[in-house]
Symmetry: D2
Subunit: 281 residues, 4 copies
């Protein structure tokens, strides 16, 4: 009987890292199923991600990796592959992105467990219910923002949420909330960042006459639209599409891009290298 | 015996345009081989491009289109399909884009006649010569810019140049020269505009950690990097590519994008709608 | 007050077609909003599709086009743009393709009216109901095939069905049914036809070690997998994907490809040129 | 002072492989710069490719890997990264693919050293000369085929050729020659294999009315068009392109696809898994 574990490592580059980690895996009866690594010349950091099938237990893995972690001063992640990531999805009125996430999860393509969908509107309640997921409306106005965010934090705590996915939530978090969610919240921006930051990007794109429009999935940071990029995609458009048609065309690529980013994040394939991401896709 | 003509029309949208134009074509024994049109709600302009094989002469076409042009207050273009566009290519040191253009032209894929390649350096002389094309070096420094641009204008005049293609020329024209070349000069910017305007876009792209890099072919205008976009393309990259590797990857897509833009321009497929282009590709 | 009409024309190429059609449009106060044409050298056929906003009525259009149709011996199609196409969707157990179609239609991206979903299994009943659509199971075995097809024909008649969409229905129609549905049924084949015809195409693709997999939407004909192709797409894969993973990856592209084909068909953008399609996309 | 080495491994999957290899690398002062691995469930084979910068010598690497190779019964490849692959390019009349290869190599993007271009025609002599490469014409007719192939084998021997690239050579090798070149010759087929095997694939594609055309780079085997696929690409086409236009469109993608396959092969990124390839791109 084996169990599959995922290890992620980030540390200063130096000889012997792979040898040390592979020794631990040998000791717990592990066979490496997948392994990727990257050395970042920008930061001098070595990144490693391994999936291994082991006869030993997760506790043994943790115990034996402890001295290795200390020796190389690693930022170490150890996970059971079968553990799903507790995920809160937040949305507003547009169903496209929410539907893409919930359907893909229903089909077993995402590694998430979604106990709740939160929205500032009622419109998408039925979409959540169809997949057997609870729905809570948290209306938000300028005045009620502090309460709304407090309620959100309570939910994150109560439901044991590890990841917040903003599926076109369209509201900007306070700096305080943003900093609490650092590295744990993924947003979809409906443009090919860094082009067309800010509001109404499709209208900006139409105005500028671009020939491709895109979408960017990124971690939420205090600098709006400046967070580390996880995934981007584009789709070809022509002069003949209006701004409204760009919105419709873009919706598909938004959902696919966000869904891919969530899949990679929850498969522990995304590591941070400063404000850049290493994606072991 | 028939000859193929190209007609391009831009005028205020109103009923009867297609009917009037097709009547002229009937009168000169013309058969429509290709026809595309577009109404721009932004500007209220109607755009039309027709290729027709006619038994009548080009002069007859001009004569019979004259009253139609006046009636609808058209911006009208009439061309013989077989006429090649006199084109000056300007480059610097990197051969990729120049090679793509000259090779594609050699293969009959571009509709241009290139009497001369101009560069501020000597490096690419042999590339021009290989395709039997003259080469002239016009060195350029801060001090000699006025003379250099004067020489360039003289060349444009002497060689009867209709189109200037900046194949990574890497020098910025004076406002005066730019305004003289308005609508007649195509540049390739090595980023997916409007992202990463200005210098060293691949380094900016690497810094920002984008997952796609691109190239933009656009008309040269006084607002640097803000001219009407003709064509854009992107190519996928990952965290593992350095800025220098992005440069190498990008070179291919730059050449292809510029080549496509030149092909469309010289096939009279690009019409201007304010700062946007209508591309009847 | 204007109404938008769609005209499609296929006839022997000859001068004066566009002029004659545009004259009719002028007479009914029509303004051409979109127009595309193609001459097929293979068959000598001229194809035309026009969208026009007219002050005149549909009946006037029919009346005035009648002599033009006769004069040029046209295969003529006249439609109100606002008329939705009565569509029957048939599926089996896999929800992906059905969900893509129903969701896109729900978002207003398809021009169809779906009164019923038919399946040989019960699995997808809830997916139909979620979008407020009736569902009927018609189980099918070797022995019951004639009855099942008879029931299907009755449904097509009763519900006034104009288009049958096989969203991974996985059953092969009898020649008789196929010939009755000629030009009115669209299937999605889960490979890049003509590669990997027949059963289990993803397993064939894995076996052959291809680097791209695809999907093909085509009209159903008696020659299985040989019908006129409407749309194709591919997605990149690597050595690391198993046949089962190819199936999962392919499902997305299948749904998108079929959805696009249905959109084009119901927008009257697909004309037949022998066994090839002209797609005025 | 370090030197970069490449190691490729294929052997029966079993625990301890990575640990053993990384131990050797540690012993020769090696730091892993790049590492990829794959377990093929189809064949039970484990594949590994490592690039490492080492202070030790190549001879030390060979010596220390010898017992590891024996212990795991490895198919082992050891290379200096800086060693270029001696490559013979064969072509016929069409310059596109040859130009793409020679130009990319000139730009430092390919890891090949090309002492000679061979063709059955004279047409492309100047293209070879421009890049300072020798050119030899070996005319070939039904009768002279044995002599022509004998001359070819002599060249391969004299010039110490490791790789033969068929850049649209358009001649079919005898079974004898094919078997001698097994795994050492790469061909470009101008279709998306396995669709349109055999002659005139673009005409077949036009006839069938496909919406994408493609190119396939593959190793040459005795089964024509059935060799292991290294890389494939497609490009979108429409009803409006003639077979001749498909040929022109396809030429670009052919050159790019073949160039990429050559790059991967000579970077030792392509390992064989039966008739499939593992490409560590």
């Amino acid at each position: 009987m084996t169990e599959r574990f995922i290890l992620t490592v980030a540390c200063k580059d130096q000889p012997g890292i792979v040898h040390a980690v592979s020794e631990v895996l040998l000791e717990i009866g592990g066979n490496i199923a997948e392994s990727q690594q990257f050395y970042s010349p920008d930061s001098g950091t070595f990144f490693l991600r391994i999936e291994a099938d082991a006869t030993g237990s997760f506790e043994e893995l943790e115990e034996k990796m402890a001295p290795v972690k200390e020796r190389f001063d690693m930022k170490l992640g150890l996970y059971r592959k079968s553990d799903k990531v507790r995920t809160l999805i937040m949305c507003s009125k547009d169903p496209r992105t929410l539907n893409e996430l919930l359907f893909n999860n229903h089909m077993g393509q995402l590694n998430i467990d979604v106990p709740l969908v939160v929205s500032n509107h009622q419109d998408l309640k039925q979409h959540a219910y169809f997949y057997g997921i609870n729905f809570e409306q948290i209306p938000i106005t300028k005045d009620t923002k502090p309460e709304a965010e407090a309620r959100l934090l309570k939910i994150i705590d109560e439901y044991d949420i590890e990841l917040v996915v903003l599926a076109r939530y369209m509201q900007i978090f306070s700096d305080e909330l943003t900093s609490k969610l650092a590295g744990k919240a993924i947003n979809i921006h409906h443009s090919f960042l860094p082009a067309f930051k800010g509001a109404r990007p499709y209208h900006q794109a139409h105005e500028r006459g671009v020939k491709l429009i895109g979408a960017t999935a990124h971690y939420v940071t205090e600098d709006l639209d400046e967070g580390p990029i996880i995934e981007q995609n584009v789709v070809r458009v022509t002069h003949s599409e209006s701004a409204a048609e760009l919105v419709a065309i873009g919706r598909n690529v938004e959902g696919q891009t966000l869904s891919k980013a969530v899949q990679w994040h929850t498969d522990r394939r995304v590591l941070m290298d400063g404000n850049r991401t290493v994606v072991f896709s």
